[in-house]
């Protein structure tokens, strides 16, 4: 068994004259959680579709679980579980029926699927909902059912496109916790997200994308350390451009985004001192995060 789960080499894709993925290369090791992080339109979903063989690259090579994709994608997909961006569960079916029908697509007999349904329901915390119609489930429950459905073929690799978009914080945390337990059991996960927090909490490594190009790659904390490496003070309530000239001697770097002045300061106390006496300012001091990395690399905030 190869230790590389996904290998993209020089992959490009153009839709109707627009470059969506531009000479992208990355490798995902078996057992790691790899994140594709970027704003809407960065090409994340297209990459996920290409990994599954749903879209053919115009240039470059893709290998997934040792199999060339899209040429032999069917072989790869037999060992992949997919959590798509938009729920595509069968609404007229019950939770149990959804799993049953899906197992059959992998060539499993009714008996084989029925044997694993209890453990999948337990994993998804849906034991009490086995006979509920999908249309009666909450958004978080639907997402967990989609996740359980993706595990029906006991996949080595799980591809997730925006797994927690549209969920409330409680439902999101439950999904994250479930994903961590999958990683602990040795599964490989590739996920796309525009949530910095999600990427930071879950991913062993990240590929930060903008307009289909890789702008950074690495462990989230290493990226933060390498790109920012100091405390951040967010300053609201004043004219960011005036404040900028006031504090820039004491800041390693500043960025203006909308009404907010981001100040990257090795010595935050000196910045605070400079701003003392300015009425109406609100200051928020915090450790750096991936949002700052993105802002640094692209000069703009990621759309929420």
């Amino acid at each position: 068994m190869s230790t590389v789960a996904i290998d993209l080499a020089g992959v490009s894709k153009t839709y109707e004259g627009k470059v969506v993925v531009d000479g992208l290369s990355f490798r995902v090791a078996a057992g790691e959680c790899f994140g594709l992080l970027g704003p809407n339109g960065a090409g994340k979903s297209t990459i996920a579709r290409m990994v599954l063989g749903m879209t053919s690259p115009d240039a470059g090579e893709i290998t997934v679980l040792g199999v060339p994709v899209p040429a032999r994608a069917r072989l790869a997909r037999a060992r992949i579980g997919v959590v798509p961006q938009f729920d595509n569960l069968d609404l007229e079916f019950t939770v149990r029926e959804n799993l049953l029908v899906f197992g059959r697509y992998f060539g499993m007999s009714t008996r084989e699927v029925e044997a694993i349904i209890p453990s999948l329901l337990e994993f998804a915390r849906l034991e009490s909902k086995a006979h509920a119609r999908v249309s009666e489930l909450s958004g978080g429950m639907k997402r967990r059912l989609t996740l359980a459905r993706a595990l029906i073929n006991d996949p080595q690799l799980i591809v997730m496109d925006e797994p927690t978009t549209g969920l409330d914080p409680h439902a999101r945390h439950l999904i994250w916790e479930r994903l961590r337990s999958l990683l602990a059991s040795g599964k490989t996960i590739i996920l796309t997200t525009h949530f910095m927090e999600e990427a930071e909490r879950l991913c062993d490594r990240l590929c930060v994308l903008e307009n289909g190009r890789k702008i950074a790659e690495g462990h989230p904390h290493a990226l933060i350390e390498e790109q920012i490496g100091c405390q951040v003070i967010e300053i609201y309530g004043g004219n960011p451009h005036e404040l900028h000239s006031l504090i820039s001697p004491y800041a390693q770097r500043t960025e203006v985004s909308g009404e907010t002045l981001f100040c990257y300061a090795p010595d935050p106390e000196r910045v605070r001192l400079q701003l003392r006496g300015h009425a109406g300012l609100r200051l928020l001091q915090r450790p750096p995060n991936l949002e700052d990395v993105f802002l640094r690399l692209t000069g703009r905030e990621m759309e929420k």
């Binding site: 839709y15 599954l52 063989g53 749903m54 879209t55 053919s56 899209p70 040429a71 032999r72 994608a73 069917r74 072989l75 997909r77 037999a78 992949i80 997919v82 798509p84 938009f86 595509n88 569960l89 069968d90 609404l91 007229e92 079916f93 029926e97 029908v101 899906f102 059959r104 697509y105 992998f106 060539g107 073929n153």
Partner: protein, 262 residues
């Protein structure tokens, strides 16, 4: 390129069954309403026209008009059931409900899905056509046991029309386009193919056109079976229906590949 073709065509001879079973499970939940809906329309035509017009028309080729009409209505009901299942229900599964997307993420191919959908539409056509055949037989307007010959033809008719409709489904941007197929293709076929009156009544040029229409071939096989008479040119008719079942299948798979896997 060859590998990409292989990725779209059916992967094996049995994958489609999982898709058929999915649709069967969904249908079981609404079976009664679905059966009534599929039977009501052709029954109303059969008995409304059969008894109403039958008085005026009298006998056709020695058979009461309602018995003549039965073969036409059986074939037409198979055509309509297969077409509607494909352009409305299968389109919804492909488009709004994203059911096909979910299936494509498993080890099934587009060809497997399309084949399963066609087999399912043919099954519904078979149920509708057989239902009318049974009613006509019980009332004495169709001959037992020769109606048994009609049953596989009903299924094949369903397959041919499902396959044709699948091409329309692959091309249509939204539901609104299906009405053109209904009014410009299906309805004229009803009158060109001898469903309600003999093709011989038509001007020559239309008679010639009827030779190329699948419904005419279906009726030429089903009507004699229901009337208990021998059918002529069986090989030609079966061949024509097979042609309409197979060729559009490949065409629709190619079109779906372009649409769903750009």
């Amino acid at each position: 390129m060859r590998e990409l073709c292989a990725a779209a065509l059916p992967a094996n001879a049995w994958n489609w069954i999982a898709v058929w079973r999915r649709n069967f499970l969904a249908w079981k939940k609404v079976a009664l309403a679905s059966i009534l809906g599929n039977l009501a329309d052709p029954m109303i035509y059969l008995f409304g026209l059969g008894f109403g017009l039958g008085v005026v028309v009298g006998r056709i080729d020695g058979a009461p008009y309602v018995a003549f009409l039965a073969g036409g209505m059986v074939a037409t009901s198979a055509m309509t059931a297969a077409t509607f299942e494909t352009i409305y229900a299968a389109f919804a599964r492909m488009h709004a409900q994203r059911t096909w997307e979910a299936i494509l993420y498993t080890q099934l191919t587009l060809g497997d899905i399309v084949l399963g959908e066609l087999a399912w539409a043919a099954t519904k056509a078979f149920l509708a056509g057989t239902g009318i055949t049974v009613v006509a037989t019980l009332l004495g307007y169709a001959a037992w046991p020769s109606i048994l010959y009609a049953l596989p033809v009903i299924a094949l008719t369903g397959l041919a029309f499902a396959s044709l409709a699948m091409v329309i489904t692959a091309l249509a941007p939204s539901y609104d386009y299906f009405v053109f197929y209904q009014t410009l293709v299906l309805t004229p076929m009803l009158f060109l193919c001898g469903a309600v009156f003999p093709v011989a009544q038509l001007p020559n040029v239309f008679q010639l056109a009827a030779h190329f229409l699948p419904l005419a071939h279906a009726i030429d096989l089903i009507r004699p079976a229901l009337l208990g008479r021998p059918a002529g040119d069986m090989g030609l008719h079966i061949g024509a229906l097979c042609f309409y079942a197979v060729l559009p299948f490949f065409l629709s798979v190619a079109l779906f590949r372009r649409r769903l896997m750009p």
